[in-house]
């Protein structure tokens, strides 16, 4: 305790230095996005832009179909977050508070789903969506057409349920007092009403955490969105769309435009995180590592 009294200069120096290394790339992204034509790539390197030029943002709007990218990102993120919340809450309630044969087996299965790394599923998920029966011109056996890759469904399908979400909800719902549920049932409430009127309001804190984790994950998702939009460019999300900029022309002109696009894609999540960081950080603690 006494050591608190001394000013820990070395600690400040080290943590400060690390913080600079963490923040500088973000600053560089911001400042580069304001650099005028021909300014990026000039030697010697200059951190600050000569004048705060907004033309890169305009250029990003011209080069990219930003309304489409935003729409895809927003719709996909909203659908995924909504679905994960709903299914996790329903399944979590069943696993925590209802008694039925097979419950332990199903709970173990949910735990097991968290062990599978996502890359194992890229190929089969893609092929399943391409061969989805009776969609996108496919026949009953999934032959002939493009399947679900024609629609926004392809962007969200593999993420609609989360084993971790179910687990998180279940752990939280277990602590909701049985007496509350009992009282509602005695008043004649069915299980669905009990879930909606008692469990859902009680689990709001953990729902915020789960929503935030899912939101950030879905908004930033790259590999799957890249895959799906290779099959159908109309499905590009913000990260995928901005990445396509790098194939354009002169890198010295393109880099600042790209940084402008990236700022647009990163800002919403950063703001949300700064507002609700406590909930997010708790989620990361609960999930171990994200």
């Amino acid at each position: 305790m006494r050591r608190r009294g001394r000013v820990p200069w070395l600690s400040y120096l080290l943590v400060g230095l690390g913080a600079v290394v963490t923040v500088v790339p973000f600053l560089d992204m911001l400042l580069t996005s304001f650099k005028g034509p021909g300014e990026y790539g000039r030697l010697p390197y200059r951190f600050l832009p000569e004048a705060f030029d907004l033309s890169n943002y305009r250029e990003a709007f011209v080069r990219l179909d930003l309304p489409l990218l935003f729409r895809n990102s927003v719709v996909a993120t909203a659908v995924i977050t909504g679905s994960v919340l709903l299914t996790s809450s329903l399944a979590g309630y069943a696993l925590a508070k209802l008694r039925f044969p097979g419950r332990d087996v199903i709970f173990r299965l949910v735990l097991a789903t968290m062990m599978f790394p996502p890359f194992v599923f890229f190929i089969p998920h893609f092929l399943i969506l391409v061969h989805w029966p009776l969609a996108g011109g496919n026949g009953l056996l999934g032959e002939g057409g493009a399947g679900l890759t024609v629609s926004l469904a392809a962007l969200v399908m593999p993420f609609l349920v989360s084993g971790f979400g179910i687990f998180l909800m279940r752990q939280f719902i277990v602590s909701v007092p049985d007496e509350m549920l009992e009282a509602a049932r005695i008043d004649g409430a069915g299980e669905f009403t009990v879930w909606w009127r008692i469990v859902v309001p009680q689990t709001r804190p953990v729902a915020v955490t789960l929503a935030l984790l899912t939101f950030v994950g879905a908004w930033n998702e790259y590999i799957w969105a890249l895959l799906v939009s290779t099959a159908n460019p109309r499905l590009m999300t913000l990260p995928v769309g901005i990445q396509t900029l790098q194939s354009y022309l002169d890198p010295n002109r393109m880099v600042p435009v790209m940084m402008a696009g990236l700022m647009l894609s990163v800002l919403p999540v950063l703001l949300l995180f700064l507002l609700l960081q406590k909930h997010y950080i708790r989620g990361v603690m609960l999930s171990g590592l994200k």
Partner: protein, 340 residues
């Protein structure tokens, strides 16, 4: 009294459940008051209630179970089937059995899968863990002495909530000759380095970024671990006249071992399967195969060359590797728990 409670319970079919009824002082006596007819009816209701609850539970679980069947079980079977077949198209009827040919080809002489791809994968994961862990231990240790701990932790967290496309591109252009890193080198009088274009420096350059991006969560978990160390140990050490370095190596590090182990293993597993950052920073895993890793190799075999069979085989090899490490981790932690 007892009868009213029973009938109230009976209406909801809740006779055997604990809770409110107990609170009203319904005791063993309640049952003896009932007539024979009463005794038979709750039993039937109980069964009906059980059945209804089972049905409701499965209804609640139905969306999730259906999802796991279609997007977990089926894909796993499909992946195994594909790894044992030859198929280079989109027509399901063209799938031909191939036995273990795909696996044999991966490990055949002259195949690039073992070296450099798997070697790169291991180096990438090990390098990330080593860098991130060292950095996180130092920072987490120092943060506990500072004010505004939440502020510092938030700062270190920024990369985690940022898309890999932003992280990868910003660093990619910072590594360029006209970028920030070389700008700093030049200002120090050093010559520019072609970080991502030189096969010797490409992989370490990406490793640094991956470590940079994962520092935040490691710091978070280690800070929690540090806070759990009882303060009396430090006071005792101070009374004995131990210097800060001795305290750190003799008390902090040993007592932090569970958190260190956890961060180490989970980050290692994450490192083994990551390839998004590599795609963004070096495209095809270049120059040459210098930054190619197993998951990227799988991705390219499948989606660039349409070779589903060998891609699935590559995925399964990596999957088994990760599964073994995960199981070892579970075993390790269970033993830790027994140790206390």
């Amino acid at each position: 009294m007892a009868t009213t409670v029973t009938s109230a319970d009976g209406d909801g079919g809740e006779a055997e459940r604990p809770g409110r009824a107990e609170g009203r002082g319904r005791a063993a006596g309640g049952r003896s008051v009932r007539t024979a007819g009463d005794r038979a009816r709750p039993a039937a209701r109980r069964t009906r209630y059980r059945c209804r609850q089972t049905a409701v539970a499965y209804l609640f679980l139905a969306p999730s179970l259906a999802f796991f069947a279609v997007f977990l079980l089926l894909p796993l079977l499909f992946a195994v089937l594909l790894s044992l077949s030859r198929w280079a198209g989109f027509d399901l009827a063209d799938i031909r059995p191939a036995g273990v040919d795909n696996f044999a080809a991966l490990f055949a002489r002259g195949s690039s899968f073992l070296t450099p791809v798997l070697t790169n994968t291991l180096l990438y994961a090990l390098g990330t863990v080593a860098l991130a862990l060292t950095g996180a231990v130092l920072v987490a240790h120092c943060i506990t002495h500072l004010r505004f701990q939440g502020f510092w932790r938030t700062l270190y967290f920024l990369p985690i909530v940022t898309t890999v496309v932003a992280v990868g591109n910003v660093w990619k252009y910072m590594y360029e000759p006209g970028g920030l890193v070389n700008g700093v080198l030049n200002a120090l009088g050093l010559r520019s380095v072609a970080f991502l274009q030189d096969p010797a420096t490409a992989l370490p350059s990406v490793v640094v970024v991956q470590a940079w991006a994962s520092l935040g969560s490691a710091i978070l978990i280690l800070t929690a671990g540090l806070k759990a160390i009882p303060h009396v140990y430090y006071e005792a050490a101070e009374l004995d006249g131990a210097g800060p370095f001795t305290v750190f190596t003799r008390i902090t590090l040993p007592l932090l071992r569970p958190s260190l182990l956890f961060v180490c293993v989970t980050q290692f597993i994450t490192g083994l399967q990551s390839f998004a950052l590599i795609i963004v920073m070096t495209g095809e895993g270049g120059p040459g195969d210098a930054t190619n890793v197993a998951a990227l190799e799988m991705y390219q075999r499948a989606f660039t060359y349409g070779d589903w069979g060998s891609a699935s085989a590559a995925a399964l090899v990596l999957f088994v590797l990760i599964l073994v490490i995960t199981l070892a981790q579970l075993w390790l932690f269970r033993r830790k728990g027994a140790d206390g």
